[in-house]
């Protein structure tokens, strides 16, 4: 009954903990991959799927919290911290940096499982969002240069006539470009297109060209 679409990475220097957690997660039908240190985890090739990182604070090579900071920009699965002796500042720091939970040993299986589930769910959402943005980027990349010029003008709410004047083209030509954009971007409506532009972080360009280069 082990679901193969997600995995839990366990990093703890204590073999007994790793053993117990693997066993426990197995009893919940969750596959776990264990690492004895942060370095081990960092070096390992990880399967591209929904995941969660159960990270011990007290690691032999690096403090778990510092490791969290280290990998913050590398895109990592949500973290559930476990620690032998927790402190409020440490937990606050961990949560502020995006940790899902901060559990003090010994912890109940329910607490751990709740945290892991939350983490997996969050990872799943993040993965989805990452996938959609990738598709949008690919579609946006398919647009012709002229179409990429038309897009900001359209989403800025300019009338066709205004947008055409802005680009120095006829209104008919503009309408053709606009139709292509909507098609290529797979936008159902203008509002849909605006939302996509927002995700792609395309700036609005509503201002009239104020003459001069």
């Amino acid at each position: 009954m082990t679901a193969e679409d997600h995995v839990v990475f366990v990093v703890d220097d204590d073999a007994r903990i790793r053993e117990a957690l693997v066993d426990m997660l197995e009893s919940y039908g969750i596959r776990a991959i264990t690492f004895g240190s942060a370095g081990e985890y960092a070096r390992a090739a990880k399967p591209e799927m929904t995941a969660c990182l159960v990270l011990d604070v007290e690691l032999p090579d690096i403090n778990g919290l510092d490791f969290q900071t280290q990998i913050a920009n590398a895109g990592h699965p949500p973290i559930v911290f476990i620690t032998g002796h927790g402190s409020i500042p440490a937990s606050v720091r961990a949560i502020r940096h995006g940790a899902v939970d901060f559990l003090t040993k010994p912890f109940s299986d329910a607490d751990l499982m709740a945290a892991i589930r939350t983490a997996l769910a969050r990872d799943r959402e993040e993965r989805a969002a990452r996938d959609e943005l990738g598709a949008l980027r690919r579609r946006h990349a398919d647009l012709t240069p002229r179409e990429r010029e038309v897009l900001p003008l359209v989403i800025s709410g300019l009338l066709n006539k205004q947008a055409a004047a802005e680009l120095g083209i006829s209104e008919v030509t503009l309408q053709m470009h606009r139709r292509n954009v909507m098609q290529k971007m797979d936008a159902a409506s203008l509002a849909d297109l605006v939302r996509m532009a927002e995700k792609l972080e395309i700036p609005l360009s509503g201002s009239r060209r104020a003459g001069g280069p």
């Binding site: 204590d14 117990a20 066993d23 426990m24 009893s27 032998g84 002796h85 040993k105 010994p106 751990l112």
Partner: protein, 833 residues
Amino acid sequence: MAISRPVCLALAVLACAAGMVAGWRLYLPLGLAPVVAVLFLRVASQWLLPLLGVATAGLAVSLLATNEGEGSLPDEGMNYGGCFALVLSLGGVLAAHRMLGMARAAPDRASRTLTEEAAPGEPAGAPLLHPDDRLASTLASARAFWTGVPQVMRYRQRQPDGSYRWFRTRSVPSYEAVVEISDLETVREEPMTHSPTFASPTADTVQAARTVEDLFGNGWAFDAAGAWIYLPLFAQTTLGLTPDDLNASLRDGDISWKLLLHPDEYEAVAIRWRHSLETGAPFRAEFRIRRANGVYAWAKTAAKPFLDTEGHIAGWFGTSIDIDLPKKTEAALRAKEFQLRQLIEAVPTMIWSTTASGTPTYANQRFIDTTGASLADITAPDGSASLSVIHPEDRQAARDAFGRSMLQGIPYAATYRQLRADGSYRWTATRAEPLRDEAGVIHQWYGVSVDIHERVVAEMSLRESEHAHRQLVETLPALIYCATPEGKPTYRSEKLRDYLGFGLTDKDDAERTRLENTLDAIIHPDDLAAVKERYAHALSTGEPYQMKHRLRRFDGVYRWVETRAAAMRNAEGTIVQWNGICLEIEDQVRAQEDLRLAQDNLARASQAASLAELSASIAHEVNQPLAAIVANSHTCLRWLRAEPPNHPRAMITAERIIRDSNAAADVVSRIRALFKQSVQPRTSTALPSVIGEARRLLTEEATRRRIRLHVDIEDGLPRVVFDRVQLQQVLINLLRNAMEAMEAAEGDKVVGIRVHRAEGDVQVRVSDLGAGVAFPDRIFEPFFTTKESGMGMGLAICRSIVESHGGRLWIESNEPRGAIFVFTLPVETDVAA
């Protein structure tokens, strides 16, 4: 009008001739004319007085000669008798005139020397004597002169009414010390009725001498060659010498005086005598004449030449008057004066005098020599004291003071720089007192000036050095004081007075000593006991005193100072004074305080850090297996609850639980082992040494916390067996707790350590004056702490150590406040048995 001697002589001869012619042949009154003319001339020239006498005498002689030569002419008898009467009356007039001149010339002399008992030979008195007594009085005078023995005589003296009264007088030699021979000469006008022998000039000379003798009781005559021709009979008998005896010396070329003269004076007298004999100059001299008893007495001797009618010297006549007493008195006076002067000059001071109005009248030689200023120099043109010898800067003050003294008649005292002969100025002290008469009127000011330059300079340098020292003391940036050997403050520097805001004696009262009052007033109450204890110790032992304490400033603020005092001893080593210095160390103390706080904070931080580390380590060590156990337990349950239960997996999990539980137990026992004390061999040691060691270890901390450690160990304690290190740990723990308990306490901070025997144990009591213990029941529980940074293990460990030694540890309440931790240790005998 000066008339030369020859003219006078000519006039006199003329007068004589005229007198003779007039009296004898012509008419008697005409004989008066030349006499009147001579009298008139006498007014103009004193020289004529003797000439007048000669002229008158000549007149009288011619009359007598005529009388004898002519025999008795009955018809002319009346005429001759009238002439004689005229001459007599003329003699009386002359005598009166001479007396008048005499009285005019020396009235004071007469009043001084002539008393009621005056010698009868005195010219004024002579005419008053009864003629019968005259010889007797003359003799008496002569006897007085030649013997030096006062003579008493009776004589009759004529009264103004012409009658005679008896007088009794005592005649002593030499009342008249100033007899002018020129005056005596007129006496020759006395009628010489008793010895009318005018055979020769020599006889005249003798006659003149006799006349003098009549008047002065003494007279003598020499011939022109200086040989005695007359010496009163009395003198001859008294001396046992005749004029021939005296004249014998002439044969040796000496003068005839020789036998009567003192050898010392002979030469001087001889020279003058010969001079007079040669030139005819009157002889006047004062010399000693030998009396009958061989004693030399001072006499004033005068002699005049007797001229014959041709003007040649016919002989010498004169007298000697006794001046022995005045001479000797004078000599004595002179000696006395000399002595006084010597004294004044010998006194090593400058002596001067001024009149009542301040005009300088005298300055002794030393004054003149020292200042180089004569009496004239110190007298201003207006007669006042010029004060030129006083330094210009001091002059006005001296002038004012002297003026004030003169005005008010109060003694004058001044100190000023006075000029010296070399032009320098030296400090001089001058005092002057007024001399008053009976009525209190000031006659003179007598002043003394003493050179006190060395003293003044020494004083000034002393003052300067004292001033410098005082300045040194006063300007030192410290608070300085002195005290008696008993500690009574005697001096405080200005800075200290300013700092305290009160003076040395301001806190004095009758009941308590100045030291106590001062200490109470200026020492912070918390430091007072310690200061008093230390100060008393220093005073009693003489050891230097050193103490850091808070001192009350004038504004009531207590500031930290360090006081150091040391004893000043005299040559014998006895303490004569305590000198103290007080340095403000507020900033220093504050800095130290800050440093201490920082240290404390650091220590606490590091303690906390190490504690956190320790607890983290403990937690990690324990929680790891616990976490595994919990996780395994859950897993085990899940395997067992699964449908179907997964027994193999559950068993594996259960085994892991057992394994991890054991691991956890190991961790716990390892931690216990960490806390467990090392087991050292216990030794039998004297407890006091361990306590002393603990005290030493904590002295620094106690001083920093202003806490006194008071140790009281009973004598003759039995030995106890204990682990030295452990027991020290207990002591330090308890002592430190006690000190920390008083950290916030007010007032006296004392930690007491008392060791005494109690039943079979030795009891150690550590007391404090802190706030006491709120939870006496729980305080020995492990991990129970009332301290912010405590682990709560200290007392638990202490108790376990004490109990491992067979003793007990408990807490009691201290009076009036604070707590006492008491632990016991069994005495050695019990263990040994």
